[in-house]
């Protein structure tokens, strides 16, 4: 019993939790921006996958992983733009469009992997973003063993949470974002351009999801492998709902899921099957949603195309 407790509160597990949560955090922030604007983004998974692939490819070509990061964000943003054109301009069903993008992303990355590298399954190894030691955090006892030395993307994810929080709740743009996702007509009648808000939000959403994918291929691992996001986009989506469409709530949910992920590697040692642990985020989400009925209410206009006049 003491062993299990020690494992549950192990700093190594906590440190791993932050690493596992990082791609989820970026994608969840993207999901929040998109849904807050009124566009359901079920395509996070595909956007992450394309981000993973692009990060690897650009890093392979340039040798510079940070350029890979930018490439991944651009690629994710581009997919976001496609999603936006279909959902905002052509008023396509947002879930169907998102699903199509996910399927498309799976096929495209496999195709490109074979096209560029003549391999199936896994790309060659590329340079990774190295871990760094943060001067202040590494001086604080206990904390230092969790956050003292981590990948820069881990820190960036935490900063991104704060930034998105401030943007949504403290800026003019954020106020308009919340308005167009709830009552687009109200925003329109006071002169807010609903379409432009939605385009920008969905493109940013794609860029953030792409950034999340980056972590998998050039930080966590040093290569891209087919389907490597393995449902993380959907877990991020669950985190968005779990966190009630707020950045801080989603951060909590992502850390929780990341912790489950980190724990799972340890629990295998004591004979709990991996598959069971893999189910955990989904089971938790369902339980949480059932328990929070009426409280986990998303933006009212999410999923509905806006038709002027």
């Amino acid at each position: 019993m003491g062993d299990i407790l020690a494992m549950l509160f192990n700093t190594t597990v906590f440190a791993a939790a932050f690493r596992m949560a990082t791609p989820l955090i970026f994608a969840a922030l993207g999901g929040i921006l998109s849904e807050r604007s009124g566009v359901v983004n079920i395509a996070l998974e595909g956007m992450m996958l394309i981000g993973s692939f692009t990060a690897m490819l650009v890093t392979y070509l340039t040798g510079m992983p940070w350029v890979g990061v930018l490439g991944a964000m651009a690629a994710g943003g581009l997919i976001g733009l496609i999603h936006a054109v279909f959902c905002v301009r052509y008023r396509a069903n947002q879930v169907v469009t998102g699903t199509a993008i996910n399927i498309f992303a799976g096929g495209l990355t496999v195709f490109l992997l074979r096209h560029f590298f003549q391999v199936a399954g896994t790309s060659p190894a590329v340079t990774v973003i190295p871990d760094i030691t943060l001067p202040i955090l590494s001086k604080i006892p206990w904390i230092d063993r969790i956050l003292g030395r981590q990948n820069p993307l881990v820190y960036l994810a935490l900063v991104a949470v704060a930034v998105v929080h401030v943007v949504i709740y403290r800026t003019t743009w954020g106020l308009r974002l919340r308005a167009v996702g709830e009552h687009p007509q109200a925003a329109d009648t006071v002169g807010v351009n609903v379409f432009r808000m939605r385009y920008i939000a969905v493109v940013l959403s794609g860029a953030l999801a792409g950034l999340g994918g980056t972590y998998l291929s050039i930080a966590h691992l040093s290569r891209f492998s087919e389907g490597m996001t393995a449902g993380r986009g959907f877990i991020a989506l669950a985190a968005v709902i779990f966190g009630k469409w707020t950045p801080l709530g989603a951060l909590g949910a992502c850390l929780f899921f990341g912790y489950g992920d980190a724990l799972q590697m340890r629990l295998q040692d004591i004979g709990i099957p991996t598959q069971f642990m893999n189910m955990l985020p989904y089971v938790l989400t369902m339980v949480a949603l059932a328990g929070f009925i009426g409280r986990a209410v998303g933006p009212k206009a999410a999923g509905e195309p806006y038709i002027k006049g």
Binding site: T171, T172, L175, A179, A186, A187, T189, V190, G191, V192
Partner: protein
Amino acid sequence: MAKVLEMRGITKQFPRVLANDHVYFDLEHGEIHALVGENGSGKSTLMSILYGLYQKDAGEIIVRGQHVEITEPRRAIDLRIGMVFQHFMLVEPLTVAENIVLGSEIRKGPFLDYKKMIAEVRRLSEEYGLQIDPEAKIADLSVGLQQRVEILKALYRGAEILILDEPTAVLTPQEVDDLIQVLRNLKAKGTSIVFITHKIKEVLAVSDRVSVLRRGRKIGTKLTSDTNEQELAEMMVGRVVLLQVEKGSAQPGPEVLRLEGVSVKDQFGQVKVNNVNLSVRSGEVLGIAGVEGNGQSELVEAIAGLRRVSGGKIYLSGQDITGWSPLRIRRAGFGFVPEDRHRRGLVLDYSVADNLILGIHGSKPFVTSAGLRNQGKIGEYAEELIAEYDVRPPVANQAVRNLSGGNQQKVVVAREFAQNPDLLICSQPTRGVDVGAIEFIHKQVIAQRDRGAAVLLVSAELDEVLSLSDRVAVMYNGEIVSVMPIEEATEHKLGFLMLGGRLEDYQAGEVSGSAGQS
């Protein structure tokens, strides 16, 4: 007085209707100009054109002497025109201040300046006497307060011309009084107001001038002081309208509905109806007067079987129906016109015909012996009721959603009345319904009474209660505080009781009041 606005020859063609046909409308500085007409007469269209939501096909708009083209709301806002919509344009999870500034935010760089925003909203609300907490969430406010936020929104944008589209449709009588006071304040401060409505009483209470539209055409403009209820009603409808219901005296028969100590709780366990005893006899109309929210809705839903009673018994024609299912109660001879026709009364996307057979759709002759719908019989039945109840347009297979409020209500009334129930409950039967339809529905209610139905009428409109009822009960805070024959009921007395006054005090007040006068 100077004209701040002139609309000349405004014409707007919608796919099937000519919504505005060469309409002239003008507004003087600091006046309240009522724009009235039945549903679908083109009032809202005219004002939507002014606010830039629709584009006119012909005509010109002159604001403060300048010819203008208003292509979008932004342009109207720049011209200091504000509009308060019937369906509020408020973002519910946001605060009052956030809603007011949205689109024209007070900022520090990219950031919202919350301090200044809140201060500005406070200043505005004090200047115009519109008390509101700037930091409250919209979702937590009553409808009346939400409307206040809409008005502040327009004022914040500097509106000097304020359009209110059916502002009283969603308000309780008390809130209407508050609104009228607010409009008078605004007028005193030099705001020019267009007040769209179809309720003539309000026109007479608040406006300086009144313009009447009918089927897209301007019928006339009058000084309010030169006109009266009857004349306006006739201008609106285009024929002589009976504002007073013609009815003979009631011939009450045996008791049909009996409530014994009925109590009802809401979903939070709050007692909404407390120990109500009531009896309605065949051939009489019992009206329940009361400020909305005093338990009338819960009481009526309990009788209809839509809500569980927490205590007491309900008898219909001598049978104990407490706890029965709604369908079983209906089959026992019960008809129900619910207060919210959209939520409870109709399936908006179903056709008129299907709505007319709801509840009896499973019985003969609407179902063939093979268990399939008998389209022929359904159609015949619908045509009959449409003719009898004057549903317009008389098309059985169109979706109810496309009808005007008055005609939607006629569909509900037709369905319920056609079954000739022993007990008929009419809850707000003429809410959001225009003058012509009100007259029709009132006649039908009296016809049901004369046929021998026991009618329980719940209405927030005192006029309606007074003109239809044979006996009046007043409901306050979940209790029936008084039941009196119609001869003893006056508007003043009911109003006093509705607000929680006691009958003894009222009678005492009457006595001393008249003593003081003499």
